[in-house]
């Protein structure tokens, strides 16, 4: 029952918060976080991407929401916009002084930014990931030297 109350109150707070933003309550871009996706493991990146963005998308950057009272404590989120879409949402404040809140905290999955890997050209001092055994290195070197001779 307590969990339901907390979830309901947080959802309620977010509903109010997004309405507040949409009414032009402050100069931040309207971050319309869908309330059904806020708490617990339902917080998936695909749901965020489907949230309605104004035409042209959001302005890129990182934005901090105001602190909202969620009955058992405060909630404050930080949102990252890249490519006009929400790519990361982080809780800066979350009720943590109650057992119920701590359980929800433990279940909440972080949303992390993603990208397709791309070859880069740069002079670097070292490369991580290179764990070639010395045996393979010597083998490869000698076969190369053989071709070179």
């Amino acid at each position: 029952m307590k969990k339901f109350l907390l979830s309901a109150s947080v959802i309620g707070v977010f509903a109010l918060y997004s309405v507040h933003l949409n009414l032009g309550g402050n100069e931040n871009p309207s971050v319309a976080v869908k309330t059904s996706n806020v708490i617990g493991s339902a917080f998936t990146s695909s749901s965020l991407q489907s949230s309605s963005a104004p035409s042209g998308g959001y302005k890129n950057g990182t934005y901090i929401g105001s602190v909202a009272d969620a009955f058992y404590g405060n909630i404050q989120v930080q949102v990252t916009i890249s490519g006009g879409r929400i790519t990361n949402v982080q809780f800066l404040q979350f009720p943590s002084d109650r057992r119920t809140s701590q359980m929800i905290n433990a279940q909440a999955d972080p949303i992390l930014a993603q990208e397709a890997i791309q070859a880069q050209s740069a002079n670097v001092s070292g490369v991580t990931g290179a764990t070639a055994s010395s045996g393979a290195f010597v083998q490869s070197l000698s076969s190369a030297l053989q071709q070179a001779s």
């Binding site: 972080p110 070859a119 880069q120 070292g126 070639a132 010395s134 045996g135």
Partner: protein, 239 residues
């Protein structure tokens, strides 16, 4: 340990005599040779050999075993030095520990800007040093350029030595969904500690790193999609 060791020292404004530099770097390589003698799982005379034959081992080996046990608890069993065949192989923890000790040798000798790199895992001192993350699908390419200062960096991956990392929880030898996980921490010991067990967690590993204090990570999955922790961007640099 069968991997290339690289040490680079950048001179400060003080003139360091070439012969001293050579001697000091020599001390680092000597230390790695000692570590290999003592802790190589491939040498029957090593401490690891003795451990697996039930013989008495040194205090230092016992310290390492204790660190390994603590890490096993910290990672809910994903870091485990016991292999499926019952052998104990502490290489996963010895490497980072050894690199950090090697770097401390140079720190005690008052060097301020250097790195000690063993097989791509490195303790970075001073900086900034430009570092690359290798493309798991093409070893001659890098896919990320980082600017690093006073930290440690370690990568676990399947592509170099084949599937050498196994999942101690499910006992599978395949970690098919991800191919590389790079961890940056306050020092190489911290980064290295978590990179292998986090890798064994598959796609959940990057979330495990996200939840740890003072660790950032960059994970590449089998489809070439990278996922990074929320603080990782601070290490990125323009080309």
């Amino acid at each position: 340990m069968g991997m290339p060791i690289t040490v680079e020292i950048r001179n400060s404004k003080y003139e360091i005599r070439k012969v001293d530099l050579g001697k000091d770097i020599g001390k680092v390589f000597e230390y790695f040779r000692e570590v290999d003698e003592k802790y190589s799982p491939f040498k029957s005379t090593s401490e690891v050999g003795k451990l697996n034959r039930g013989e008495k081992v040194s205090d230092e080996m016992r310290d390492i075993l204790r660190l390994a046990h603590d890490l096993k608890v910290e990672t809910n069993g994903y870091f485990d030095i016991e292999r499926p065949d019952g052998r104990i192989d502490p290489s996963g923890i010895v490497k980072g520990w050894a690199i950090k000790n090697a770097a401390d040798i140079l720190r005690k000798l008052k060097y301020k800007k250097f790195f000690v790199d063993a097989g791509g895992d490195a303790e970075i001192v001073g900086g900034p040093w430009k570092w690359g993350i290798r493309n798991p699908f093409n070893k001659s390419q890098i896919v990320k350029v980082l600017s690093l200062n006073n930290c440690g960096i370690a990568t676990s991956g399947t592509y170099e030595r084949g599937q050498h990392i196994y999942n101690p929880i499910t006992k599978e030898t395949e970690i098919p969904d991800i191919v590389s996980l790079t961890v940056i921490g306050l020092n190489i010991y911290e980064a290295d500690k978590f990179s292998t067990p986090a890798f064994a967690m598959g796609k959940g590993g990057i979330k495990f790193i996200e939840k740890q204090k003072d660790l950032e990570g960059y994970m590449i999955d089998k489809d070439g999609v990278a996922t990074m922790t929320s603080g990782f961007k601070r290490y990125e640099t323009g080309r």
